[in-house]
Amino acid sequence: MHDYVPVIGLEIHVQLGTKSKMFSRCSADCFGKEPNSVVCPVSLGLPGALPVPNKKAIQWAILIGMALNCKINTVSKFDRKHYFYPDLPKGYQISQYDEPFSYDGSYDLLRKDGSTKKIRIKRVHLEEDTGKLIHDGNDTLVDFNRTGVPLVEIVTEPDFDNSDDVKQFLEELQVIVRYLKVSDADMEKGSMRLEPNISVRKPGQVEIPNYKVEIKNINSFRFVKAAIDYEIKRHIELLGNREVPIQETRGYQEQKGITVSQRVKETAEDYRYFPEPDIPPFEFTQDFIHDIRKSMPELPNKKIARFQSMGVSPHNAYILTRDRSVADFYEEAAQRFPDQSAKIAMLIVQKSVPINQGIEEFCLRAVKILLPIETDLIILSQTIRDVIREHEEPVQSYKNGKESVLMFLVGQVMKAMQGKADAKTVKEELLKELKRPISSTSYN
């Protein structure tokens, strides 16, 4: 059914890997810990507790905004967002409303077919995470360990129109966030969470549809495409039956591959935002912003372009840059083999030489496989003839059956070629020459 064009906007949450929580110096290391043991008065929303913001979390949130080409609000603040849910101890979440740290950014998605898609980033702001609920029979159990962990929320404009782009964007965002070393951005662990907002419209329609459905509970990259595609199909079917999909939140169920209604919002939630009075506002100095920008590493897309200018193929450059430590390893190796950047890249991408044994081991093994850019065969054959002529006895030895002499002769040729020959080629050509009947050896 190609009657409709999907309209997809993303809301992505990234859990920052700070040592302490967003609004208190309670430990933020809560994964796998005994319930309600990684808490403090602020985390639990105890009477009298007050929030004090985490500087590193703020710097990292701004860094993420910069990586997405956002404008930075040097005047900013936190706001209270009110709603009731058992995993939210204060009855409000400290978040950002009208003055987020970053806004109006963009990201250029370079597709495999070479086309590009610009994704507008609406905002990147900072807030605190909630606790966790576990259902146990008739009870719901609450664990507040995760409450207060810093969370960066990235919101895109509804610029996506297909699930492949969404998946690619998400994967590349994960790489960027890991490059910045601010989060392990792991969907299965919950340190990166996706909530797409989906609707469909007629082709050519410019206005955003008058409804949208939010999808929660997509817990892995594997399900991103399936969940979105399912939902798009569901909307198209409904609209085909002259029904408008209900504006609601739906949960993805991985086993069945479907989405089900979670909360129908009869009235839009009124969050009654107001500025957080317990946290003074921010007027960041130029120095503060400048220092954050200075700490930005070379981002993946820039690195890809640079690797390509070194001769690496687009495909290999992409693969090498998925993990910053691999990219860094590659660069070090490439430095050891000038003019061999493309080949080194290939060795790593094809896993011909492992990179987990350290740089020295890698280089040792690479040398054995690497082809020089040119093994000049004319010079090589001349050199081989010279070596054979100068080493009559060893040659005779070899011809009499002493195989081991061959490697000596190879070594002599390699030496004479001064590294401008590949060992394998030398051996082949040398054998060829040695097997030639003496009478046909000609000297110029």
């Binding site: 700070t18 040592k19 302490s20 208190s24 110096r25 309670c26 430990s27 005994e34 319930p35 309600n36 043991s37 990684v38 808490v39 403090c40 008065p41 602020v42 639990l44 004090v52 913001p53 985490n54 500087k55 590193k56 979390a57 703020i58 603040k77 009110h82 009731f84 849910y85 058992p86 009855g91 609920l133 576990i134 259902h135 146990d136 029979g137 008739n138 009870d139 719901t140 159990l141 609450v142 664990d143 507040f144 009235t267 009124d270 009654r272 107001f274 500025p275 009075p277 946290i279 003074p280 506002p281 921010f282 007027e283 960041f284 503060f288």
Partner: protein, 97 residues
């Protein structure tokens, strides 16, 4: 001039997670109307180009270093000490559907 109807009160109660008695719902509109009438006097004051005062402190850029303070952390038994409903190390709420 805004006056709250019992319906408004009910909606606000829902937003506020409050269960009001039928007496509350009957009485509150009138009680709150008096407050709302009084604050109309703010209309006397011209505020067109006036900034809103959201913070009484003149402090700015207050941020703490990312260092864990063990002394503020609570054990799970302390955390649960004042709870009337608990199960193991968890707090309990009525099942959320």
């Amino acid at each position: 001039m805004s006056h709250l109807t019992p319906d408004d009160i009910q909606k606000l109660a829902q937003l506020s997670n409050l269960e009001l008695t039928s007496d509350d719902i009957k009485d509150l509109p009138q009680q709150l109307a008096k407050s709302l009438d009084y604050v109309e006097n703010l209309k006397d004051i011209q505020t067109d180009n006036v900034p809103a005062s959201h913070f009484t402190t003149s402090a700015k850029n207050v941020m703490a270093e990312d260092i864990v303070d063990e002394s503020i952390m609570l054990t799970s038994s302390t955390a649960l000490k004042n709870a009337s409903n608990k199960k193991g190390s968890y707090f309990i709420v009525k099942r959320i559907l």
